[in-house]
Symmetry: C2
Subunit: 346 residues, 2 copies
DNA sequence: ACGTCATCCGAGAGCGCTCTCCCGCCCGGG
DNA sequence: CCCGGGCGGGAGAGCGCTCTCGGATGACGT
């Protein structure tokens, strides 16, 4: 039933317009050098026939695909717990479609998948890659480097500092964390605890570093490791209450963790923010607004990050990564600012 | 820098193995009719050169792309509020990669996007489409039908009953709703309210229908329209408490809505489940387990739905939608069962 | 030993497009 | 009035692959 009618080819359009293939090609691709009356005739033929260029044939000669791979390397948990991922995708999608590029999504879970991804990237199906949520020691960056594809990372990868040519987009996790802690200080809190994020991701490490920047001399007992999940927030909060029942503030590495902490605080009869002030990170809707009380948190522009990643990559594809003629530097990473959003919890 | 080394072609492999292109092609595509010693020689040449077939060239002749479009037509809100979408994607992704198909993601928001999607599908970049979250009166199905692409829908589309050849995968929303309401009846509740989902989606309508199946004679004042968001749950719950302060149970169209209702109930000092029992729908983690109290809800296998959609589509691509030789029927839709998950809220 | 047939492999066409020539036309200058 | 230059348009090669044919090779029957 779905017997596709053979689609018209360039040839067919050319015949109908009474010109050569080359001329049709020129018109279709918007190159100049075709005089108006002729061009118009071609255009009419194109939509009379409903001509759509065959992408495969085009790619075969141009070696371009107008397709970008988006690789999400996340072992289940976090991706689904918070809408982070969906929102970045939306940003990427917008930017990509605006430039007529398609988005090829690769979800990976384990090492086998990595091999598959490596093969895929090396297979030359896409012009570039956008890569997410790397964990420290992830083999993916190396695979990608070997595939030799232009790539932009989402979040600072675990490289030895600015390794050559690695481009990424990240939020100012460290700065945001500092702001959060300073805000708590400003409220007069002094016994400020931190529930960290996953410390095998740079975002977790950076937020911890930001906390330490402001509270260098803090009691180590006030820092408990979490992993960005709500469950870890609950566990950590219990531990903290056991160790330091006199704490008067908590900075949680993200909103989910903060939500978990909030529940435990309530369970233990601590009033928020009166007894314990709580600050989260991400300003993730709908979580942040719907905790009890609504969460004071650090906002990052997630969709914007996605959009920016795509833009950086497309720019690089346009004119491949040579040193900038003005500044003499390679195309560089971008760290986006964060802002503190005050609600009721602190 | 990213000056891609020209990749080896079939020709090159053939030369190295001392055979013809055709033979290499046969070996690479696993077709039989190449004797062992030769085949082995070819295989060696392939990986000595690191040969990877050029997909564009292949598509050009086979007219296949081994790519599937996944279209998510959702105006912002819901997609990100709950992880529904991400989870279906994961299911789809697994199935697709298992069959060496790539996943091309198309996110659409408004009518302009629809036109773009129509063009894309007609453009013959993909072999089939998986389509999500249609709203009633959505023009998308018609566009897709015209593009003549094999398609599977996620969720029952708003068609006039079983329109010819429309294949979809859905949960048994109506049956699940019945189970939920019967469960409340079983607890001895009699003044059972329902906060509906978005009634421009079949899932919302079906759940309402399920509610009515069991409570045909219910006071219309006990039904308030929502839209699957937590905010609508709050609003609806307030309205219900105003209208029918004596209600003793609420069936909410999804977990997010239930979470909103729960908050309002708490605000008003109603104990759950003692005063008012609450049941949600979806069993969406982490929402359902982390409400106060944890939510009794109707579980559907979301990832399974995704996987099934992909499987159905791939099967159809394998041997195009002709009537089944045994049963004489067209490939049909699938409605997956739901199960009630008892937690504390009812 | 010769014919027959199946089997394995290679030659070559062609998928639909882009892009490099190159030719022909028109215009302006000498 | 003729010639040179420039530009619009066409011819044709070729991108890397698949697939149909037909030729060669060897097994087998007689």
């Amino acid at each position: 039933m779905t017997e596709t009618v053979p689609r018209p080819t360039l040839e067919a359009v050319a015949a109908r317009a009474g010109v050569s293939r080359a001329t049709v090609s020129r018109v279709v691709n918007g190159s100049d050098g075709v005089r108006e009356p002729l061009a118009e005739r071609v255009r009419r033929a194109v939509d009379e026939l409903g001509y759509v260029p065959n992408q495969a044939a085009r790619s075969l000669v141009t070696k371009q695909h107008d397709a970008i791979a988006v690789i999400v390397a996340e072992p289940e948990t976090r991706v689904f717990a918070d809408p982070f991922f969906a929102r970045q995708l939306r940003g990427i999608s917008k930017e990509l479609t605006a430039h007529d590029n398609q988005l090829v999504l690769l979800l990976t879970e384990d090492r086998d998948d990595h091999a598959r991804v490596g093969r895929y990237l090396a297979g030359g199906h896409v012009d570039g890659a956008l890569v997410f949520s790397l964990h420290i020691d992830d083999p993916l960056p190396e695979l990608i480097r070997r595939a030799g594809l232009p790539t932009v990372f989402g979040g600072r990868p675990d490289s030895d500092g600015g390794r050559d040519g690695v481009v990424y987009v990240d939020s100012d996790n460290r700065g945001g964390a500092r702001d959060a802690v300073r805000h708590l200080l400003g409220l007069g809190r002094r016994r400020i605890a931190h529930i960290t994020g996953a410390l095998d991701q740079t975002s977790g490490v950076d937020r911890l570093d930001g906390f330490r920047d402001v509270r260098a001399d803090t009691d180590p007992g006030l820092v408990v490791e979490g992993d960005f999940t709500a469950a870890s927030g609950e566990r950590a909060m219990r531990e903290l209450l056991g160790r330091r029942p006199d704490l008067d503030a908590v900075f949680a590495a993200n909103d989910l963790t903060a939500a978990g902490a909030l529940r435990v605080l309530r369970e233990h009869g601590r009033r928020v923010p009166d007894d314990v002030a709580v600050v989260g990170f991400d300003d993730m809707q709908p979580i942040a607004e719907q905790t009890e009380p609504p969460l004071t948190t650090v906002r990052q522009d997630i969709e914007g990050m996605g959009r920016l990643m795509a833009r950086l990559l497309l720019r690089d594809l346009d004119r491949p990564a040579t040193a900038d003629e003005d500044t003499g530097v390679m195309p560089s990473s971008v760290v986006l600012p964060t802002t503190l959003v005050r609600r009721a919890s602190a």
